[in-house]
Protein backbone atom coordinates (compact mmCIF):
# COMPACT_ATOMS: atom_id res chain seq x y z
CA UNK A 1 0.00 0.00 0.00
CA UNK A 2 1.28 3.46 -0.87
CA UNK A 3 1.79 5.62 2.21
CA UNK A 4 1.47 9.03 0.61
CA UNK A 5 -0.79 10.48 -2.03
CA UNK A 6 1.86 10.89 -4.75
CA UNK A 7 0.52 7.96 -6.78
CA UNK A 8 -2.51 10.10 -7.70
CA UNK A 9 -0.38 12.43 -9.81
CA UNK A 10 2.22 9.98 -11.09
CA UNK A 11 3.14 9.26 -14.71
CA UNK A 12 0.71 6.33 -14.89
CA UNK A 13 -2.28 8.55 -14.10
CA UNK A 14 -1.19 11.10 -16.72
CA UNK A 15 -0.90 8.28 -19.29
CA UNK A 16 -4.48 7.16 -18.49
CA UNK A 17 -5.70 10.77 -18.81
CA UNK A 18 -4.00 11.22 -22.19
CA UNK A 19 -5.54 7.96 -23.44
CA UNK A 20 -9.04 9.13 -22.50
CA UNK A 21 -8.51 12.56 -23.99
CA UNK A 22 -7.41 11.00 -27.28
CA UNK A 23 -10.69 9.05 -27.41
CA UNK A 24 -12.70 12.26 -26.86
CA UNK A 25 -10.76 14.21 -29.48
CA UNK A 26 -10.92 11.31 -31.97
CA UNK A 27 -14.71 11.04 -31.64
CA UNK A 28 -15.13 14.80 -32.04
CA UNK A 29 -12.90 14.87 -35.14
CA UNK A 30 -14.71 11.85 -36.62
CA UNK A 31 -18.15 13.43 -36.32
CA UNK A 32 -16.91 16.83 -37.47
CA UNK A 33 -15.36 15.35 -40.65
CA UNK A 34 -18.54 13.37 -41.32
CA UNK A 35 -20.69 16.50 -40.86
CA UNK A 36 -18.37 18.68 -42.94
CA UNK A 37 -18.58 16.23 -45.88
CA UNK A 38 -22.35 16.02 -45.59
CA UNK A 39 -22.60 19.79 -45.25
CA UNK A 40 -20.77 20.16 -48.57
CA UNK A 41 -23.21 17.70 -50.18
CA UNK A 42 -26.12 19.75 -48.85
CA UNK A 43 -24.63 22.91 -50.32
CA UNK A 44 -23.82 24.61 -47.00
CA UNK A 45 -21.02 27.08 -47.75
CA UNK A 46 -17.52 26.40 -46.45
CA UNK A 47 -17.56 29.86 -44.93
CA UNK A 48 -20.68 29.08 -42.85
CA UNK A 49 -19.14 25.82 -41.60
CA UNK A 50 -15.77 27.45 -40.86
CA UNK A 51 -17.50 30.29 -39.00
CA UNK A 52 -19.50 27.75 -36.99
CA UNK A 53 -16.33 25.92 -35.93
CA UNK A 54 -14.39 29.09 -35.17
CA UNK A 55 -17.15 30.85 -33.25
CA UNK A 56 -18.02 27.67 -31.29
CA UNK A 57 -14.37 27.22 -30.32
CA UNK A 58 -14.22 30.84 -29.16
CA UNK A 59 -17.57 30.48 -27.37
CA UNK A 60 -16.13 27.52 -25.42
CA UNK A 61 -12.85 29.02 -24.17
CA UNK A 62 -14.24 30.94 -21.21
CA UNK A 63 -16.61 28.18 -19.99
CA UNK A 64 -13.69 25.73 -20.32
CA UNK A 65 -11.63 27.95 -18.01
CA UNK A 66 -14.58 27.97 -15.64
CA UNK A 67 -14.72 24.13 -15.70
CA UNK A 68 -10.96 24.01 -15.22
CA UNK A 69 -11.06 26.11 -12.08
CA UNK A 70 -13.54 23.70 -10.54
CA UNK A 71 -11.04 20.83 -10.89
CA UNK A 72 -9.45 22.35 -7.80
CA UNK A 73 -12.48 21.38 -5.69
CA UNK A 74 -11.80 17.69 -6.16
CA UNK A 75 -8.02 18.03 -6.36
CA UNK A 76 -7.76 18.42 -2.58
CA UNK A 77 -8.74 14.79 -2.05
CA UNK A 78 -8.08 13.11 -5.39
CA UNK A 79 -5.08 14.94 -6.84
CA UNK A 80 -5.48 16.80 -10.08
CA UNK A 81 -5.45 13.99 -12.67
CA UNK A 82 -8.60 11.97 -11.83
CA UNK A 83 -10.80 15.13 -11.64
CA UNK A 84 -9.23 16.17 -14.95
CA UNK A 85 -10.24 12.85 -16.54
CA UNK A 86 -13.73 13.01 -15.05
CA UNK A 87 -14.38 16.60 -16.11
CA UNK A 88 -13.17 15.86 -19.65
CA UNK A 89 -15.62 12.98 -20.15
CA UNK A 90 -19.31 13.06 -19.20
CA UNK A 91 -18.17 14.92 -16.08
CA UNK A 92 -20.25 17.44 -14.31
CA UNK A 93 -18.90 19.00 -11.18
CA UNK A 94 -22.03 18.56 -9.07
CA UNK A 95 -22.33 14.84 -9.91
CA UNK A 96 -18.62 14.10 -9.51
CA UNK A 97 -18.48 15.91 -6.16
CA UNK A 98 -21.52 14.00 -4.96
CA UNK A 99 -20.05 10.66 -6.06
CA UNK A 100 -16.74 11.41 -4.31
CA UNK A 101 -18.31 12.60 -1.08
CA UNK A 102 -20.72 9.67 -1.00
CA UNK A 103 -17.92 7.14 -1.47
CA UNK A 104 -15.70 8.73 1.15
CA UNK A 105 -18.58 8.89 3.64
CA UNK A 106 -19.38 5.27 2.96
CA UNK A 107 -15.79 4.01 3.35
CA UNK A 108 -14.69 6.07 6.35
CA UNK A 109 -16.69 8.83 8.05
CA UNK A 110 -13.45 10.71 8.84
CA UNK A 111 -12.68 11.24 5.14
CA UNK A 112 -13.81 14.42 3.34
CA UNK A 113 -13.05 16.39 0.19
CA UNK A 114 -10.26 18.22 2.02
CA UNK A 115 -8.58 14.97 3.12
CA UNK A 116 -5.64 13.91 0.99
CA UNK A 117 -6.45 10.32 0.03
CA UNK A 118 -3.38 8.15 0.56
CA UNK A 119 -4.92 4.71 0.15
CA UNK A 120 -5.06 3.52 -3.49
CA UNK A 121 -8.01 1.25 -2.60
CA UNK A 122 -10.07 4.28 -1.53
CA UNK A 123 -8.91 6.11 -4.65
CA UNK A 124 -9.91 3.16 -6.83
CA UNK A 125 -13.30 2.94 -5.09
CA UNK A 126 -13.99 6.62 -5.84
CA UNK A 127 -12.99 6.08 -9.49
CA UNK A 128 -15.43 3.14 -9.79
CA UNK A 129 -18.34 5.02 -8.21
CA UNK A 130 -17.74 8.11 -10.37
CA UNK A 131 -17.52 6.05 -13.56
CA UNK A 132 -20.51 3.77 -13.03
CA UNK A 133 -22.58 6.55 -11.51
CA UNK A 134 -22.34 8.81 -14.57
CA UNK A 135 -22.16 6.34 -17.46
CA UNK A 136 -25.83 5.48 -17.85
CA UNK A 137 -26.40 7.93 -20.67
CA UNK A 138 -23.84 6.01 -22.75
CA UNK A 139 -25.81 2.80 -22.17
CA UNK A 140 -29.09 4.52 -22.90
CA UNK A 141 -28.15 6.44 -26.06
CA UNK A 142 -27.41 3.47 -28.36
CA UNK A 143 -30.77 2.02 -27.37
CA UNK A 144 -33.09 5.04 -27.51
CA UNK A 145 -31.44 8.02 -29.23
CA UNK A 146 -32.83 7.19 -32.68
CA UNK A 147 -36.37 6.68 -31.39
CA UNK A 148 -36.29 9.84 -29.29
CA UNK A 149 -35.02 11.94 -32.15
CA UNK A 150 -37.70 10.67 -34.50
CA UNK A 151 -40.72 10.43 -32.22
CA UNK A 152 -40.25 12.29 -28.94
CA UNK A 153 -38.35 15.12 -30.62
CA UNK A 154 -41.25 15.89 -32.87
CA UNK A 155 -43.78 15.59 -30.05
CA UNK A 156 -41.76 17.82 -27.71
CA UNK A 157 -41.38 20.46 -30.38
CA UNK A 158 -45.10 20.41 -31.04
CA UNK A 159 -46.03 20.45 -27.35
CA UNK A 160 -44.42 23.41 -25.61
CA UNK A 161 -45.91 22.50 -22.22
CA UNK A 162 -44.25 19.05 -22.20
CA UNK A 163 -40.94 20.57 -23.23
CA UNK A 164 -41.21 23.19 -20.46
CA UNK A 165 -42.01 20.47 -17.92
CA UNK A 166 -38.81 18.63 -18.92
CA UNK A 167 -36.80 21.84 -18.33
CA UNK A 168 -38.48 22.35 -14.93
CA UNK A 169 -37.74 18.78 -13.75
CA UNK A 170 -34.14 19.04 -14.93
CA UNK A 171 -33.62 22.38 -13.12
CA UNK A 172 -35.39 21.06 -9.99
CA UNK A 173 -33.14 17.98 -9.87
CA UNK A 174 -30.09 20.23 -10.06
CA UNK A 175 -31.48 22.52 -7.32
CA UNK A 176 -32.01 19.39 -5.21
CA UNK A 177 -28.33 18.47 -5.48
CA UNK A 178 -27.09 22.00 -4.74
CA UNK A 179 -29.57 22.46 -1.87
CA UNK A 180 -28.20 19.39 -0.06
CA UNK A 181 -24.70 20.92 0.02
CA UNK A 182 -26.07 24.35 0.98
CA UNK A 183 -28.13 22.84 3.84
CA UNK A 184 -25.03 20.96 4.93
CA UNK A 185 -23.06 24.23 5.08
CA UNK A 186 -25.86 25.77 7.17
CA UNK A 187 -26.49 22.96 9.61
CA UNK A 188 -24.41 19.84 8.93
CA UNK A 189 -21.34 18.22 10.41
CA UNK A 190 -19.02 15.69 8.86
CA UNK A 191 -18.84 13.11 11.66
CA UNK A 192 -20.55 12.38 14.96
CA UNK A 193 -17.23 11.67 16.68
CA UNK A 194 -15.31 14.96 16.46
CA UNK A 195 -15.75 18.52 15.21
CA UNK A 196 -13.69 19.33 12.12
CA UNK A 197 -12.95 22.32 9.87
CA UNK A 198 -15.81 22.47 7.38
CA UNK A 199 -18.55 21.67 9.91
CA UNK A 200 -21.42 24.18 9.84
CA UNK A 201 -20.76 27.28 11.87
CA UNK A 202 -19.63 30.88 11.60
CA UNK A 203 -17.04 30.28 8.86
CA UNK A 204 -19.17 28.02 6.67
CA UNK A 205 -22.04 30.53 6.74
CA UNK A 206 -19.71 33.46 5.93
CA UNK A 207 -18.21 31.52 3.00
CA UNK A 208 -21.62 30.45 1.69
CA UNK A 209 -23.14 33.92 1.95
CA UNK A 210 -20.09 35.54 0.31
CA UNK A 211 -20.28 33.10 -2.61
CA UNK A 212 -24.02 33.70 -3.12
CA UNK A 213 -23.71 37.50 -2.82
CA UNK A 214 -20.68 37.69 -5.16
CA UNK A 215 -22.32 35.45 -7.73
CA UNK A 216 -25.60 37.38 -7.61
CA UNK A 217 -23.82 40.74 -7.94
CA UNK A 218 -21.67 39.57 -10.85
CA UNK A 219 -24.54 37.88 -12.70
CA UNK A 220 -26.77 40.94 -12.24
CA UNK A 221 -23.94 43.17 -13.48
CA UNK A 222 -23.50 40.96 -16.55
CA UNK A 223 -27.23 41.12 -17.31
CA UNK A 224 -27.70 44.85 -16.72
CA UNK A 225 -24.51 45.99 -18.46
CA UNK A 226 -24.61 43.23 -21.10
CA UNK A 227 -21.10 42.04 -20.15
CA UNK A 228 -21.18 38.76 -22.08
CA UNK A 229 -17.42 38.20 -21.69
CA UNK A 230 -17.59 38.38 -17.91
CA UNK A 231 -20.51 35.93 -17.66
CA UNK A 232 -18.56 32.62 -17.72
CA UNK A 233 -16.15 33.93 -15.08
CA UNK A 234 -18.85 34.93 -12.58
CA UNK A 235 -18.98 31.46 -11.01
CA UNK A 236 -15.20 30.87 -10.58
CA UNK A 237 -14.61 34.46 -9.39
CA UNK A 238 -17.37 34.05 -6.80
CA UNK A 239 -16.06 30.67 -5.66
CA UNK A 240 -12.45 31.80 -5.29
CA UNK A 241 -13.60 35.14 -3.79
CA UNK A 242 -15.50 33.24 -1.09
CA UNK A 243 -12.52 30.95 -0.44
CA UNK A 244 -10.34 34.09 -0.20
CA UNK A 245 -12.73 35.57 2.38
CA UNK A 246 -12.46 32.32 4.38
CA UNK A 247 -8.65 32.66 4.39
CA UNK A 248 -8.79 36.33 5.44
CA UNK A 249 -11.36 35.71 8.20
CA UNK A 250 -9.29 32.81 9.46
CA UNK A 251 -6.30 35.15 9.74
CA UNK A 252 -7.98 38.20 11.30
CA UNK A 253 -10.67 36.76 13.58
CA UNK A 254 -10.00 35.49 17.11
CA UNK A 255 -9.67 31.69 17.16
CA UNK A 256 -12.80 31.40 19.32
CA UNK A 257 -14.82 32.86 16.43
CA UNK A 258 -13.05 31.32 13.42
CA UNK A 259 -13.32 27.80 14.86
CA UNK A 260 -16.92 28.22 16.07
CA UNK A 261 -19.41 25.60 14.90
CA UNK A 262 -23.01 25.15 16.09
CA UNK A 263 -21.83 22.31 18.35
CA UNK A 264 -18.81 24.04 19.93
CA UNK A 265 -15.29 24.98 18.82
CA UNK A 266 -13.04 22.85 16.58
CA UNK A 267 -10.06 21.69 18.63
Amino acid sequence: MTENGDFKTGGFMYAVAIGIILVVVAESVFFMVKSWRHGKKLGISKETMKNTIFSSALFSVAPAISILTTVIVLAGALGIVLPWIRLSVIGNLAYETTATKLTLESLDSRLSLSTDITDPKTFGAVAWVMTIGTSFALVLLPLVCKTIQKKVGGALQKNEKTSRLGDIISAAAFIGIIAAFVANAINGRQTKEALTIGDAGFMSICTLVTAIVLSTVLETLCEKKNLKKLEPFAMPISMFGAMGVAVVLNLVLPEAVSTLTWWGNVA
Binding site: V73, S135, L141, I186, N250
Partner: protein, 223 residues
Protein backbone atom coordinates in the same frame (compact mmCIF):
# COMPACT_ATOMS: atom_id res chain seq x y z
CA UNK B 1 -38.43 11.48 -52.67
CA UNK B 2 -34.69 11.64 -53.28
CA UNK B 3 -34.33 13.92 -50.26
CA UNK B 4 -36.17 11.43 -48.03
CA UNK B 5 -33.82 8.65 -49.06
CA UNK B 6 -30.73 10.81 -48.50
CA UNK B 7 -32.04 11.95 -45.11
CA UNK B 8 -32.66 8.40 -44.01
CA UNK B 9 -29.25 7.23 -45.10
CA UNK B 10 -27.38 10.06 -43.41
CA UNK B 11 -29.28 9.92 -40.10
CA UNK B 12 -29.01 6.13 -40.05
CA UNK B 13 -25.27 6.39 -40.58
CA UNK B 14 -24.94 8.97 -37.77
CA UNK B 15 -26.88 6.71 -35.41
CA UNK B 16 -24.82 3.66 -36.37
CA UNK B 17 -21.52 5.46 -35.72
CA UNK B 18 -22.94 7.17 -32.67
CA UNK B 19 -23.82 3.81 -31.15
CA UNK B 20 -20.38 2.40 -31.90
CA UNK B 21 -18.62 5.43 -30.42
CA UNK B 22 -20.86 5.41 -27.33
CA UNK B 23 -20.05 1.76 -26.68
CA UNK B 24 -16.35 2.41 -27.36
CA UNK B 25 -16.33 5.42 -25.02
CA UNK B 26 -18.11 3.40 -22.33
CA UNK B 27 -15.47 0.68 -22.55
CA UNK B 28 -12.67 3.29 -22.45
CA UNK B 29 -14.28 4.90 -19.37
CA UNK B 30 -14.62 1.59 -17.56
CA UNK B 31 -10.95 0.95 -18.31
CA UNK B 32 -9.99 3.94 -16.11
CA UNK B 33 -10.92 2.43 -12.70
CA UNK B 34 -9.89 -1.01 -13.96
CA UNK B 35 -6.44 0.27 -14.92
CA UNK B 36 -6.07 2.22 -11.65
CA UNK B 37 -6.95 -0.80 -9.49
CA UNK B 38 -4.83 -3.20 -11.56
CA UNK B 39 -1.79 -0.91 -11.67
CA UNK B 40 -1.79 -0.18 -7.93
CA UNK B 41 -2.97 -3.71 -7.11
CA UNK B 42 -5.65 -2.13 -4.95
CA UNK B 43 -9.09 -3.52 -5.67
CA UNK B 44 -11.82 -2.25 -3.34
CA UNK B 45 -14.19 -4.90 -1.98
CA UNK B 46 -17.41 -5.13 -3.96
CA UNK B 47 -19.41 -4.82 -0.73
CA UNK B 48 -17.64 -1.52 0.06
CA UNK B 49 -18.59 0.16 -3.19
CA UNK B 50 -22.04 -1.34 -3.71
CA UNK B 51 -23.76 1.12 -1.34
CA UNK B 52 -22.29 4.34 -2.82
CA UNK B 53 -22.71 2.99 -6.37
CA UNK B 54 -26.36 2.21 -5.63
CA UNK B 55 -26.99 5.71 -4.28
CA UNK B 56 -25.21 7.45 -7.16
CA UNK B 57 -26.99 5.27 -9.71
CA UNK B 58 -30.39 6.07 -8.24
CA UNK B 59 -29.56 9.75 -8.38
CA UNK B 60 -27.67 10.15 -11.66
CA UNK B 61 -29.36 7.50 -13.73
CA UNK B 62 -32.77 9.11 -13.17
CA UNK B 63 -31.35 12.47 -14.22
CA UNK B 64 -29.70 10.78 -17.26
CA UNK B 65 -33.09 9.53 -18.49
CA UNK B 66 -34.59 13.04 -18.21
CA UNK B 67 -31.55 14.61 -19.88
CA UNK B 68 -31.48 12.17 -22.81
CA UNK B 69 -35.18 12.76 -23.47
CA UNK B 70 -34.97 16.54 -23.02
CA UNK B 71 -31.74 17.34 -24.90
CA UNK B 72 -31.71 14.87 -27.82
CA UNK B 73 -34.34 16.74 -29.85
CA UNK B 74 -32.47 20.02 -29.36
CA UNK B 75 -28.92 18.76 -30.03
CA UNK B 76 -29.56 16.50 -33.04
CA UNK B 77 -28.16 12.99 -33.39
CA UNK B 78 -24.42 13.68 -33.85
CA UNK B 79 -24.52 16.51 -31.31
CA UNK B 80 -26.22 14.24 -28.77
CA UNK B 81 -23.73 11.39 -29.10
CA UNK B 82 -20.83 13.85 -28.79
CA UNK B 83 -22.34 15.83 -25.93
CA UNK B 84 -23.07 12.84 -23.73
CA UNK B 85 -19.50 11.60 -24.05
CA UNK B 86 -17.87 14.95 -23.34
CA UNK B 87 -20.30 16.17 -20.66
CA UNK B 88 -21.05 19.72 -19.46
CA UNK B 89 -24.20 19.76 -21.58
CA UNK B 90 -26.37 22.37 -19.87
CA UNK B 91 -23.60 24.86 -19.20
CA UNK B 92 -21.76 24.53 -22.52
CA UNK B 93 -22.73 22.09 -25.28
CA UNK B 94 -26.43 22.95 -25.43
CA UNK B 95 -26.02 26.76 -25.59
CA UNK B 96 -23.13 26.31 -28.03
CA UNK B 97 -25.15 24.10 -30.41
CA UNK B 98 -28.28 26.27 -30.20
CA UNK B 99 -26.24 29.44 -30.69
CA UNK B 100 -24.51 28.00 -33.80
CA UNK B 101 -27.84 26.89 -35.34
CA UNK B 102 -29.39 30.32 -34.68
CA UNK B 103 -26.38 32.09 -36.26
CA UNK B 104 -26.45 29.81 -39.32
CA UNK B 105 -30.22 30.24 -39.51
CA UNK B 106 -30.95 26.50 -39.53
CA UNK B 107 -33.37 24.45 -37.42
CA UNK B 108 -32.73 21.47 -35.16
CA UNK B 109 -33.80 18.07 -36.53
CA UNK B 110 -33.16 19.11 -40.14
CA UNK B 111 -30.11 17.84 -42.05
CA UNK B 112 -28.62 21.34 -42.10
CA UNK B 113 -29.24 21.73 -38.36
CA UNK B 114 -27.64 18.33 -37.77
CA UNK B 115 -24.48 19.39 -39.65
CA UNK B 116 -24.13 22.78 -37.94
CA UNK B 117 -24.93 21.44 -34.45
CA UNK B 118 -22.39 18.60 -34.78
CA UNK B 119 -19.66 20.92 -36.07
CA UNK B 120 -20.31 23.36 -33.22
CA UNK B 121 -20.39 20.73 -30.47
CA UNK B 122 -17.32 18.95 -31.89
CA UNK B 123 -15.36 22.22 -31.96
CA UNK B 124 -16.56 23.00 -28.45
CA UNK B 125 -15.56 19.54 -27.15
CA UNK B 126 -12.05 19.76 -28.63
CA UNK B 127 -11.51 23.32 -27.36
CA UNK B 128 -12.73 22.46 -23.87
CA UNK B 129 -10.59 19.33 -23.68
CA UNK B 130 -7.46 21.20 -24.80
CA UNK B 131 -8.04 24.19 -22.50
CA UNK B 132 -8.60 21.91 -19.49
CA UNK B 133 -5.54 19.80 -20.38
CA UNK B 134 -3.31 22.87 -20.74
CA UNK B 135 -4.67 24.33 -17.51
CA UNK B 136 -4.19 21.14 -15.51
CA UNK B 137 -0.54 20.96 -16.51
CA UNK B 138 -0.09 24.53 -15.24
CA UNK B 139 -2.39 24.20 -12.20
CA UNK B 140 -1.02 20.88 -10.94
CA UNK B 141 2.02 22.26 -9.08
CA UNK B 142 0.03 25.26 -7.78
CA UNK B 143 -2.58 23.01 -6.12
CA UNK B 144 0.10 21.09 -4.19
CA UNK B 145 1.70 24.34 -2.99
CA UNK B 146 -1.67 25.79 -1.87
CA UNK B 147 -2.76 22.63 -0.06
CA UNK B 148 0.44 22.62 2.03
CA UNK B 149 0.43 26.36 2.72
CA UNK B 150 -0.76 27.05 6.31
CA UNK B 151 -2.44 30.33 5.28
CA UNK B 152 -4.27 28.95 2.21
CA UNK B 153 -5.03 25.46 3.54
CA UNK B 154 -8.15 26.44 5.60
CA UNK B 155 -9.81 27.58 2.36
CA UNK B 156 -9.95 23.95 1.23
CA UNK B 157 -12.06 23.15 4.30
CA UNK B 158 -14.74 25.57 3.05
CA UNK B 159 -14.53 24.79 -0.63
CA UNK B 160 -18.00 23.19 -0.73
CA UNK B 161 -19.95 26.19 0.64
CA UNK B 162 -17.92 28.40 -1.74
CA UNK B 163 -18.59 26.18 -4.74
CA UNK B 164 -22.26 25.42 -4.19
CA UNK B 165 -23.05 28.99 -3.09
CA UNK B 166 -21.52 30.31 -6.34
CA UNK B 167 -23.01 27.56 -8.48
CA UNK B 168 -26.46 27.76 -6.90
CA UNK B 169 -26.97 31.53 -6.74
CA UNK B 170 -28.23 31.79 -10.34
CA UNK B 171 -30.58 28.79 -9.97
CA UNK B 172 -31.88 30.06 -6.61
CA UNK B 173 -32.59 33.49 -8.08
CA UNK B 174 -34.53 32.05 -11.02
CA UNK B 175 -36.38 29.44 -8.92
CA UNK B 176 -36.61 31.17 -5.56
CA UNK B 177 -39.70 29.39 -4.18
CA UNK B 178 -38.51 25.87 -5.09
CA UNK B 179 -35.02 26.66 -3.76
CA UNK B 180 -36.22 28.02 -0.41
CA UNK B 181 -38.54 25.06 0.20
CA UNK B 182 -35.77 22.59 -0.72
CA UNK B 183 -33.03 24.20 1.38
CA UNK B 184 -35.46 24.45 4.32
CA UNK B 185 -36.25 20.74 3.97
CA UNK B 186 -32.51 19.94 4.01
CA UNK B 187 -31.84 22.13 7.06
CA UNK B 188 -34.81 20.66 8.98
CA UNK B 189 -33.64 17.13 8.19
CA UNK B 190 -30.20 18.00 9.52
CA UNK B 191 -31.72 19.36 12.75
CA UNK B 192 -32.66 15.76 13.56
CA UNK B 193 -29.44 14.22 12.28
CA UNK B 194 -26.62 16.78 11.78
CA UNK B 195 -24.04 14.22 10.63
CA UNK B 196 -26.31 12.66 8.02
CA UNK B 197 -24.13 12.29 4.91
CA UNK B 198 -24.78 14.59 1.96
CA UNK B 199 -25.19 11.49 -0.19
CA UNK B 200 -28.29 10.52 1.80
CA UNK B 201 -29.53 14.07 2.29
CA UNK B 202 -29.59 14.54 -1.49
CA UNK B 203 -32.44 12.05 -1.81
CA UNK B 204 -34.53 14.14 0.56
CA UNK B 205 -33.74 17.42 -1.24
CA UNK B 206 -34.26 16.03 -4.74
CA UNK B 207 -37.65 14.54 -3.85
CA UNK B 208 -38.67 17.85 -2.27
CA UNK B 209 -37.34 19.99 -5.15
CA UNK B 210 -38.96 17.93 -7.93
CA UNK B 211 -42.17 17.47 -5.95
CA UNK B 212 -42.49 21.16 -5.14
CA UNK B 213 -41.57 22.20 -8.70
CA UNK B 214 -44.23 19.90 -10.17
CA UNK B 215 -46.80 21.13 -7.63
CA UNK B 216 -46.03 24.78 -8.38
CA UNK B 217 -46.14 24.08 -12.14
CA UNK B 218 -49.59 22.50 -11.77
CA UNK B 219 -50.81 25.43 -9.67
CA UNK B 220 -49.49 27.83 -12.31
CA UNK B 221 -46.97 29.43 -9.94
CA UNK B 222 -44.17 28.41 -12.32
CA UNK B 223 -44.68 29.07 -16.01
Amino acid sequence: MKKTKREKTYFDSVHLWGRLWSIGALIALLMVPTAICAHFNAWPKLTEIMVPIGKVMLLNWTVAVVEVIAYTPMLGAGGTYLSFVTGNIVNLKLPCGLNAMAKANVKANTEEGEVISTLAIGASAITTTLVIAAGVLLLGPAVSVLKNNPVAAPAFGYVLPALFGALGAGYFRKNIAVSLVTIAAGVITLLFSPSLGVGTLIFVTIVVSIGSALGMFKLGWIK
